[in-house]
Amino acid sequence: MRKPLKIITSASAVAVILGTFSIVPQVTVAAEPSVATQGKELSFNKKKGNCLACHQIDDGDMPGNIGPPLFNMKERFPDKTTLRAQIWDSNKNNPNSMMPPFGRHEILSEQEIDKIVEYIYML
């Protein structure tokens, strides 16, 4: 009982397990769209990320211009966890940021943020 618990206390291990769970069904269940497609839907959805309110993204319709356009993300964020941190709590870098702290204020679930990160990271 003790051993497996110890293993999953490490954050990266949790990520691996979560990752496995979320990827496996996509391969087996044909109807389920890819993680990136789900991430795009979540990013564009007004009731979810609503990232288009402030960012120009991909082929998104009528984007706002309060935040920087999101592209070339791998270059800007060599470390994916930095990108995730910006989305999880934008106020850490900039206490007055316009960008809502999606994770800290539980606007999105951890899984939803993961999917958005996958999508945004491709841009």
Partner: protein
């Protein structure tokens, strides 16, 4: 790139709080208006009564053509009729206000040293009714908004002129409103200032954000959105300033405060003082 954005973010913090915590209202007012003059050179203080259209040239011409045949005309006519109706005791609103209620909008809200309270125009309209044995009207919409809009229309062109007198209680109201304006709130964690001080002229999705300067100069306002929601009478598009405050609180998923609550009275007091010098333009249309 990262460096550039970090610098921009640092700038945003500074720009986001142009008002120093302990500054006097006079110093605040100077800094507040200077912030907009710098951001929109060429836009005169007078023009800020036009809200978002002062800083959005693209949308301005279609707005001006709407204003040629204002959808709120009928509401103003009815507001004047309501204003002149006699109470059961034979008195009218004119008996409750200085100068018979004509041309006084620019002096509201004000600090009343007797009660230590902030008096808004809507607040005094209902006070007047109650003092004359009438039931108070519903806040935010309908008859009260129409009377307020008519009274404001008699102040068209007069510059907002609100005082923070040398009284610690007045300063307390002022500071309460100021703190409210700059505090992040709601699940989306946004302050009023984030949108209307830090980002006026920028687009949030398809909406261009208006400058805070001048906000209180054209209320009650006629909104197409409100008119579409309530077309049961000729007053459906009208709403008071506190109705709009509530809408902007809800927008960030914060709980709105009631109209005429201390929170919104303080907010109106601060915001109007910041807009001193902007001319009143009554009941303009907005999206």
């Amino acid at each position: 790139m990262k460096k550039l954005i970090a610098a921009a973010a640092a700038l945003a913090v500074v720009a986001g709080s142009p008002l120093v915590a302990q500054a006097s209202p006079e110093e605040d007012l100077k800094d507040f208006q200077a912030h907009y003059m710098k951001r929109f050179p060429g836009v005169s203080v007078d023009d800020y009564t036009n809200g978002v259209y002062a800083v959005n040239a693209d949308a301005r011409s279609s707005w001006e053509s709407i204003e040629d045949f204002p959808p709120y005309d009928e509401a103003l006519i009815q507001g004047e009729q309501f204003f002149n109706e006699k109470f059961a005791n034979g008195k009218t609103y004119a008996d409750c206000f200085p100068n018979g209620g004509i041309g006084i909008r620019q002096n509201y809200p004000y600090f009343d040293s007797e009660s230590g309270d902030i008096k808004t125009l809507e607040g005094e309209i209902n006070e007047c009714r109650e003092a004359n044995g009438e039931t108070p009207l519903k806040w935010k919409v309908g008859k009260l908004a129409a009377i307020s809009a008519y009274m404001a229309s008699t102040s068209d062109g007069k510059k907002l002129n609100v005082e923070v007198p040398d009284d610690p209680r007045a300063l307390e109201w002022y500071n309460k409103g100021k703190e409210f304006y700059y505090s992040k709130r709601g699940q989306l964690n946004l302050s009023c200032a984030n949108c209307h001080v830090d980002n006026p002229g920028m687009r949030i999705r398809a909406d261009t954000l208006s400058p805070a300067l001048g906000h209180p100069s054209h209320f009650p306002v006629w909104r197409m959105k409100w008119a579409a929601k309530d077309n049961s009478n000729d007053l459906g598009g009208l709403g008071t300033m506190h109705r709009r405050f509530g809408g902007c609180n809800k927008q960030v998923r914060a709980k709105p405060f009631p109209a005429q609550s201390d929170e919104y009275k303080a907010l109106e007091y601060f915001l109007t003082y910041m807009s001193n010098g902007v001319p009143v333009s009554a009941s303009r249309t907005r999206k």
